[in-house]
Subunit: 318 residues, 2 copies
């Protein structure tokens, strides 16, 4: 099967839009809404299998099966209290082997934000997909530009065959989650060294923030009774990094197998074959759009692609 | 008053999002939904004052006050029939002086699309805001880059004091609506000559498509009983055009008064003072984001800005 750019984007922007009324209603009936302690805003969407487990923890949340809502207890009215109670609960689920996903425990905290864009709580990374809360990452497009022709090539690594997620698939030059307490640029610099051996002084001088993409992912579309159905609204900070032809990226940690410098045509071929990790195809599509390689003249779905890659999520963000 | 980038974006992305439940419900109760002849999709949102006039034309539409829907007659089942009937109706309203907005009759046709992204009808430009259908335009950022420092400057025209809309305000280097039968690039080339005297061969070689922005505009937020309340979902195709320092843009038609080459700081100052036409501030914000001038480190609202500038509209688009 050959995927179009829109097909690829739909693989990461999966949750139905409210104006697809039938589809959206079906989605909403299949999940519980995760609500702040004061009842004023949504935090995420939760599967019934997680909601069922939450019922054993009335000291942390109230579960309302009629409204299909899971609300953090009103008494958990500080960031510290929420961090303590929710992470302790996650640990107990992990220790009791209740959710497979928690076997990938990271010991990294991700920040969840309130409607004022202020930190609302900080949760263990592997716990977040169970709650359907917004996650943040950085993605770096490492490219080489011909000084003569202006032609762009991209440095593409293959993920290690032993990675727990998407083993052996093609990946973006560098990527990483934005955990607490790192900032975006700090994460970029750290990951560029760890994943591609790029020196921080070089990265600082040459990397450029170029925007944000966001989409509403579900691991497996329309699946609500296994962990494959976890929903994951995601925001990725996008950076372009011009790489000097004399620099050859190389893996420092074991995250990537090797790097290859590919022409745009090669990258597109691998994308359309479905060889890239899902969200990389989104990042690359955005890169091609910004660099005039996808245009209204050669791509009929320009508008829908752009819209889906910048979806406003129904939850507060940073 | 000084506007933030988010304030400026909110001036063009005005219609409430569905998850702002109270606001969205209020909006929906204040308008009629314009529906395709076969009842399968929405085309736009219409004010009650327009709906009232539509009731005099049962040969064109059915108005349902209970559902608050205006549906094109099922018998108008071809593009040609819809063009004929709806444009004739617009002409009669214009000739009878029913809506002020139709005094700006353009004799330009804009295409409205169906859910397959195929042309559904073509309507007189000045009629479109009465129907709240999606409109398309092109926006060109004409910039000069210092070969030594990489510093960007932008060519900024001031709109003629005699223009019917936004007289005397600052504008994007070049902009224009995408009317039928012109394509995007064709419109860009035509407008670059007419508005800025730029030669088509130069534009062809140097202009680059860099993406699409879209937003849900209402001339005056929350106003539903005057023509200021017309809603206008808009899509703008964005192009960057590097302008050689030896080229000085100059108005050929009477659309612009003069051009000035401004530093980014100057442009930002004028934006924050509210001196730019509304949607230009959106186009410039997108330019600054793509060029690394707005970053997560210096702008707390990056995500919301990007999302609102790429809103997926609740109607079919091209």
């Amino acid at each position: 099967m050959t995927y179009s750019f829109l097909d690829l984007v739909k693989k990461i922007d999966v949750v139905p839009y409210y104006f697809d009324e039938g589809e959206h209603a079906k989605f909403k009936e299949s999940v519980y809404t995760f609500i702040s302690h004061d009842g004023t805003f949504r935090l995420g969407y939760i599967l019934p299998m997680v909601s069922k487990e939450f019922k054993n923890h009335p000291d942390v949340v109230q579960v309302d099966d009629t409204k299909r809502e899971i609300r953090i207890l009103p008494t958990l009215d500080t960031l510290e209290l929420r961090n303590e109670k929710l992470n302790a609960l996650a640990k107990s689920w992990r220790d009791n082997g209740i959710f497979l996903h928690l076997k990938g425990w990271r010991n990294e905290l991700y920040t969840i934000y309130d409607t004022e864009k202020k930190p609302y709580m900080r949760l263990e990374r592997s716990f977040c997909p169970l709650l359907g809360v917004v996650l943040y990452g950085c993605q770096i497009n490492g490219y080489v530009q011909s000084p003569e022709t202006g032609e762009l090539k991209l440095w593409v690594p293959r993920r290690s065959a032993t990675k727990p997620t998407y083993p052996g698939m093609l990946d973006n030059t560098v990527a990483g989650g934005v955990g607490y307490p790192q900032g975006c640029l700090e994460t970029v610099i750290k990951e560029c060294y760890e994943e591609a051996g790029l020196q921080s002084s070089y990265v600082k001088d040459n990397v450029s923030f170029v925007g944000v993409i966001s989409y509403f992912y579900q691991f497996e579309k329309g699946s609500f009774d296994t962990e494959r159905g976890f929903v994951q609204p995601e925001v990725e900070y996008i950076y372009d990094l011009r790489i000097d032809p004399s620099i050859i990226p190389h893996p420092v940690d074991n995250e990537a197998e090797d790097f290859r410098l590919m022409t745009v045509d090669e990258v597109v071929k691998h994308m359309k074959n479905g060889e890239f990790k899902h969200n990389c195809a989104g990042v690359l599509t955005d890169f091609f759009m910004r660099h005039g390689l996808i245009t209204p003249e050669n791509e009929k779905d320009c508008i829908e692609i752009q819209n889906r890659l910048h979806r406003r999520l129904p939850f507060p963000t940073r």
